[in-house]
Symmetry: C2
């Protein structure tokens, strides 16, 4: 009888990255999720899993509509930071990006998206911390051809993180334990206290013109976390 639980098995699941939006009582919000799959072809239905704590979940429950925009591989990290690491309870995310409103009224985000789809919730399942919504599509559009951004690419190539409300969130300590070796002070990694992004001097931050080999203390004062926009003061040395 094998009853051990090696949670790393869950890391082998493949995902894309999406902006999920909804609208309720005229208020709009959106968030990043990686949990979308198609469940039927005729009629076209998808499943979307959303954390119950999130504002987007509240709006979906109220209005029964949602939209999904599939992000392309070129999506910049700050855009993911806007939708993935900030709360719509504090900022108006949709005021900071382009979108169209169609069949359901949901704001279908078009910035950095390859395509979008929108529809009505026709069923749901309780996943504990999350709800899985089954959505019958009312409309869908392709915006451009391109390679979809996968969660694997986001993690490996862009060094991106999951927010704490994501099912795929990993405790930073456990994740980094095996990577940490004694380094010269100048090449030490620093972790963002807001979103968990790790600044690695060996990689630099090419999207913001920080070349590889730049120590954390040599970053310009105006440099901010490429994911969530936090300042240098929110970073601490990785032990």
């Amino acid at each position: 009888m094998e009853t051990t639980m090696d949670r790393k098995a869950l890391y082998d699941i493949s995902y894309g990255l999406y902006v999920i939006t909804s609208i309720a009582d005229g208020r709009m919000n959106g968030q990043i999720a990686n949990t979308v799959f198609q469940v039927s072809s005729t009629p076209a239905k998808i499943a979307v899993s959303i954390n119950k704590e999130n504002l987007t979940h509240e709006y979906i429950l109220k209005s029964g509509v949602l939209a999904v925009s599939t992000l392309g591989q070129e999506t910049p990290l700050p855009f993911i930071g806007l939708f993935g690491f900030k709360s719509g309870r504090e900022i108006d995310k949709l005021s900071q990006c382009a979108y169209v409103q169609g069949a359901t009224g949901c704001p279908c985000v078009t910035d950095h998206a390859l395509s979008y789809m929108e529809g009505k919730v026709v069923a749901s399942a309780d996943g504990g911390t999350h709800t899985v919504f089954i959505v019958e599509l009312a409309a869908a559009a392709v915006l451009k051809k391109g390679t979809p951004l996968t969660y694997a690419y986001y993690q490996e190539v862009k060094n991106g993180k999951a927010p704490k409300t994501a099912p795929t969130y990993k405790e930073a300590a456990a994740e980094n334990a095996s990577k940490t070796t004694e380094k010269e002070s100048s090449m030490k990694k620093y972790e963002c206290g807001i979103c968990g992004y790790i600044y690695d001097p060996e990689a630099g931050d090419p999207e913001n013109n920080i070349p590889a080999g730049t120590p954390f203390d040599k970053l310009p004062d105006e440099w901010t976390c490429p994911i969530c926009g936090a300042g240098k003061e929110d970073f601490s040395e990785v032990a």
Copy 2:
């Protein structure tokens, strides 16, 4: 009001490929699915969407347990053909591969798998042709490190197809219409009538030592469909 439905938007969703198995009344079966995502972290739960017509669905409904094996990128097409294009009503699939039985009794397939997980259905949602099962994991194991096989890789690099019961199945005619141009007879494509695999002479079938540039009528008589094992007589020219 945008109410058009361009179904190609659905093709931008990213997926892995998995063998889903179950056991009921001592009988075991398994099938390929691409529809798996994690829904919660504590406790660990996943969602799995399965076609109601499939034998594996029947077994999951009866016993309330299932296992998921995540396939690696090196998985050969005939293995996918065994689990994806043949019915457990006709053959005993599990007799043709390695597996372990653990916490739930489900056969956790280990051939070509990077990892597996198994658990009990704790909720479900009706997706029309499919059921989305929410599964609380009882056990999980990592078998080896490797790159997970993605559905995009399977389609683009391996030239693989979806079975007709998959939500991502596309009608061959529509899919190939844009690709079909007038070709010399020798370079014409042939489609497997069982699983929809397209033999393309320009690509050959490298996994079976058929070099690029080999016309269909020059394939050895013993050559079979790399996905489902059908013979040459089951192929017809793509119009």
